[in-house]
Symmetry: C2
Subunit: 658 residues, 2 copies
């Protein structure tokens, strides 16, 4: 037997297609899924459209942690919809206010050796306890819930060896900030980071969560830690000792890359605005006055992270003019902090206590004042993510946040005259599982209702490719069009993420405000013609769903960004490439493709007839057979439905409730 | 000496003009003011425009309690502006998260025998401790801060005699709901409600706050309670024993109206959607499933209100599908609840704990789902006030809210099988004054800076009436135009309340969307012509300020709503009446008034020349000499500045920093 990395062990045990050769596509069986409310409503609408009977995973959990502000009916209506959908599809449901998905999942459901796919980029945090945990787009998670494999390019494996012990005032956050200092964002794209070494013995499971969580900021596919005695203790404290197994790399396993971090040599670090990779020692920027210190989020979620703040501030007060915002990660942690007196200490110091959830970490409240410095223990400080366009956000450890809140200015915690507090995990923690609703027993007597408020609409149906595809060119655009240009985000648009017909009104609004109206008024379907790198940037699915809703069936471009091309296929839009596309077509041209399905089957060329100019153009495509089948069916969801009814003439768990 | 009511004693000791004859205008000296953040930014901009040196009151406090969500820079920028303004003008400042103005003011600054004017309709709550406390518009409060009297129509006095003792499960909220059941909203318009009787001895100062607070819902000018032993104990517990004086009605004082409430006969009451006056016994609507129970706000602010919830729910849990939202009134109360274990009890029961503040009571978060029942201890359930357009909000006591949260449906707390918990006020409460910033010592070395974020703009300057007023008729409208039509509210407009130039873009937008552009493009000032009852509805000042900013100098209507007419005068717009105004003028007509100031001095007729139609029309006005002087100066603020510089050739506290 060759010596195997932990990563390879996790991959091998879940491999359903492909080979573990870096760069090639592999298919993985998914044991668990995680969805949160901001992405979950669309996932549930996709499951509805697929006609899913019941989740095919071991555990799937729908959390509500992002949209807790409830300024109007939209958030609470989404909550009710998700609760009903969890019952309908056989998911666990974590109620609003129960806390942030990532630490909750690790505490309640995380299982060493299992795979977890989540529609949130910080899903990777569960790697802290020996899981292979990966963030992905909503439809990919929907497919996993429906029992389909997850396809990913086989990563390389990068061993990060932690040795020694952290000095006082330096904690887990500083380790991942050190990784970001060394490698910057994107430094681990295409890699799994596999942690090992003697330094692990002093890092708790929640400390490891901090490090695995922010692997997302390095661009890593996943981060994995071994499941060792500490993970055993962690699960035992949660009343889940039986879920523990040991899992670790074979001695002498070889890696594609190796790196050493000597913990004794680390110091408090800080990521300056406006990138998590913009890391310097805290002392380099010390002394600047701050407006806010913010503690919480999945990047510093543990009991110790909050207890540390309380112990540090016990004999002090928050400086005048500073807002110290405490965002408990979960109700359970909040209860333990309250029982142990830490909440009262925090309140007496002047801290503001907020409800448990993601909150300001994703720009839902607690935005800082214009241009004022905000120190946050959160994972990201992209410009404007705080909610304030001209923000000034620094990423820090709880120790640095607290020292700075007391001093009123950026402060290296080593420069306080206090002794470093020693924080113990509670030996008998309060366990609160009451805010989780279990899935119903199966089969249910009656299918649970999907409760749709006025802003929640089912996914529009899509049709198979017709035998003759006639489209009009509705829009021509240039090179490097991003999905932000196709489908803007932000507060004016995001509340409509469960409402395709409404969000479609914003498609291309900043590029050509007349596009939507023209598409709506056009009697028939249409095409868009673009340049190179069409659909770059964010992976958002709405950049395909919403134009499809407006009648888009064909895109012709010189080249495509990978994820957007997949999204177009997933939602039934044919993506072709043509050299100098923009010069060959004009708005208003009527294009006809005869028997597009047969042409897809026949090869990589598609004949396009430009009726307006009486020209024939040859378009290219590089679609796989699987992608062609999906397109012919009208998209991934109708394709799934087709397969499901072909494969299962008898009712099964997968299709009983269709 | 005639026997005097408590109300007359309070009025007499502060009377600076007029006589205590019901219905006539009286001027009162104001000892204290209260502003909150939602109205305070404009008040501070008005003080800036007046050139105020320093507040002339005994105590003026700027609270931040409404806009705590901080979704973007606007809220926190407002907070910084208000903090700077408090320093600049010599006000106390209560920091964001410190809590709701009304209970905080009662605890920290309230003084039996004093007057309080506040730019919040629930300012009247401080009547609980023998103050004369009145809510008013922002500019009236600004005038009071500048040392000017407050003018009000002398109310009648209505004695409400409380006798006996409340049964178990019935509390102060049910007393004011009983008043609303008997008299409905508007039932006390033009009255002061003066409470007395043996029943008071079992009502704490915070219980009385509940009753005085919701006097606003009856339309009362004020509600007053005697300052008795209970008020003495209340102030002593806050460390303010020396601020107590006894003040009560003379024995045998006569009232304009008398009413008896026998407390023993009351039962739990509930105000159904969507009016506080829609009151029935809880048992009449019991059994309906609820979505939310919400505890907090200035209408149930006391320690006992939250401790009651905790004690009732100690051995229970919140029902599945119910959100129990706990909104602590202040940091101080939250700390006492945490110290005494109540917070942990609430968390263990499943309650969601929010930051201290007004929050969902004014639609800033915690909105209910569409059409679902929300039981709230707040003072108002107007349609949509919760943030959800199709809401379903009931007003209740904490006892009814909790019994219903446990049962999952509307429940009379008497129908639980529990014993009624006995709640004691903490004998040694935690006192937290650290989140108040004191005004600077005077005179300051340097004037504090006003910190204006990008959304905060100084009030536009206004000019004295010119010797020749030439206007073009920009808009003609019909009868009963409301201030909501002139200046809409809601989430799209309210964030711009500190930004007159930006909010002006919404003037008349739902009536004539071209008005703003036409006014902006017009080279000169303009007039609007209306019908009867022009400017009815809400008292909002922006309905005068914003059109003035766009160039409005003259309104001609058949008649006016009282408050809007005063607002037009206050902001320098001449309001004239003309019979059949709409038929006599058309859009585009150019109108000239020669020497309008002289004409105002000369009598009640103003000659208007319609140059376009070569007609002469006589307009009327009923302005007082004082109002004419204000108009000639260009509005109340320039008039104030004029008087200030005329009266005080030497620098004084009032104008030193001009």
């Amino acid at each position: 037997m060759p010596k195997s990395t932990l990563t390879h062990q996790l991959l091998s045990s879940h491999l359903v297609s492909g080979k573990l050769v870096a760069g090639t596509e592999i298919g993985l069986r998914i044991d668990q899924t995680l969805t949160q409310d901001a992405t979950g409503t669309l996932v549930m609408l996709e499951l509805e459209a697929m006609g899913l009977g019941r989740a095919q995973t071991d555990v799937s959990v729908q959390y509500v942690d992002h949209n807790l502000l409830q300024e109007d009916n939209k958030n609470p209506d989404d909550h009710l919809f998700l609760e009903g959908a969890a019952q309908r599809f056989g998911l666990w449901f974590s109620r609003p206010g129960n806390g942030v998905s990532h630490p909750l999942h690790q505490e309640r459901f995380g299982k060493p050796g299992a795979t977890l796919l989540g529609s949130d980029s910080h899903t990777c945090a569960a790697g802290a306890i020996g899981m292979l945990a990966i963030g992905a787009g909503g439809l990919e998670v929907a497919m996993a819930i429906a029992g389909q494999p997850f396809y990913v390019r086989m990563p390389q494996v990068w061993n990060v060896q932690l040795e020694g012990q952290l000095p006082d005032w330096v904690s887990a956050k500083d380790i991942i900030l050190e990784m970001l200092r060394r490698h910057d964002v994107k430094g681990a794209v295409g890699w799994v980071l596999e942690y090992s070494g003697g330094g692990l013995q002093n890092l708790s499971a929640m400390d490891r969560h901090v490090i695995a969580n922010m692997g997302a900021e390095l661009g890593a596919t996943a981060s994995v830690f071994p499941s060792d005695d500490e993970v055993q203790r962690f699960l035992a404290r949660q009343g889940r000792a039986s879920d523990w197994i040991e899992i670790k790399a074979d001695a002498g396993a070889t890696y594609d890359r190796h790196e050493l971090i000597e913990l004794d040599k680390l110091e408090p670090l800080i990521a300056k605005p406006s990138s998590p990779g913009n890391v310097v020692p805290v002392r380099d920027v010390a002394g600047q006055p701050i407006y806010q210190a913010y503690v919480g989020s999945s990047a510093n979620p543990g009991y110790r992270d909050f207890a540390m703040v309380a112990e540090m501030i016990r004999d002090h007060r928050v400086a005048d003019g500073v807002s110290l915002d405490i965002n408990p990660t979960s109700r359970q942690i909040l209860q333990n902090l309250a029982r142990d007196g830490h909440i009262l200490t925090l309140l007496r110091s002047g801290a503001r206590l907020h409800q448990a959830g993601c909150n300001g970490c994703i720009g839902m409240g607690q935005a800082p004042a214009t241009n004022r410095i905000s120190l946050r223990t959160v994972p990201r400080n992209f410009p404007g993510r705080s909610g304030t366009r001209e923000d000034n956000v620094y990423l820090v450890s709880p120790e640095t946040a607290t020292a700075s809140a007391i001093a009123g200015k950026i402060t290296d915690p080593r420069d306080t005259d206090a002794a470093y507090p020693s924080i113990r995990q509670p030996e008998n923690p309060i366990i609160d599982t009451e805010q989780f609703s279990a899935p119903p027993t199966y089969p249910p007597a009656v299918a649970a209702e999907l409760i749709k408020g006025p802003n929640i609409q089912s996914l529009p149906e899509s049709q198979p490719l017709p035998s003759r595809l006639e489209t009009m060119v509705m829009l021509t655009v240039g090179n490097d069009i991003s999905t932000d240009e196709i489908m803007p985000a932000g507060a004016r648009v995001l509340p409509f993420r469960s409402n395709v017909s409404r969000i479609a009104e914003f498609v291309y609004i900043d590029v050509d405000p007349s596009y939507v109206t023209r598409a709506q008024q056009h009697d028939g379907v249409h095409a868009i013609v673009g340049g190179t790198n069409y659909g770059q940037g964010s992976s958002r699915e709405h950049a395909a769903i919403a134009p499809h809703f407006l009648g888009l069936r064909l895109v012709i471009a010189e080249s495509y960004a990978r994820i957007h091309l997949q999204n177009l296929v997933n939602f039934g839009v044919l993506p072709l490439t043509v050299e100098n596309a923009c010069k060959q077509f004009q708005e208003g041209d009527v294009l006809v493709i005869d028997h597009p399905g047969d042409q897809l089957d026949a090869g990589h060329e598609i004949k396009i007839e430009n009726k307006t100019r009486q020209q024939q153009i040859i378009g290219q495509h590089q679609l796989s057979d699987r992608q062609s089948e999906i397109l012919k069916a009208g998209g991934l969801i109708p394709w799934m439905r087709q397969r499901s009814s072909n494969q299962s003439p008898e009712p099964t768990a997968g299709n009983l409730l269709q």
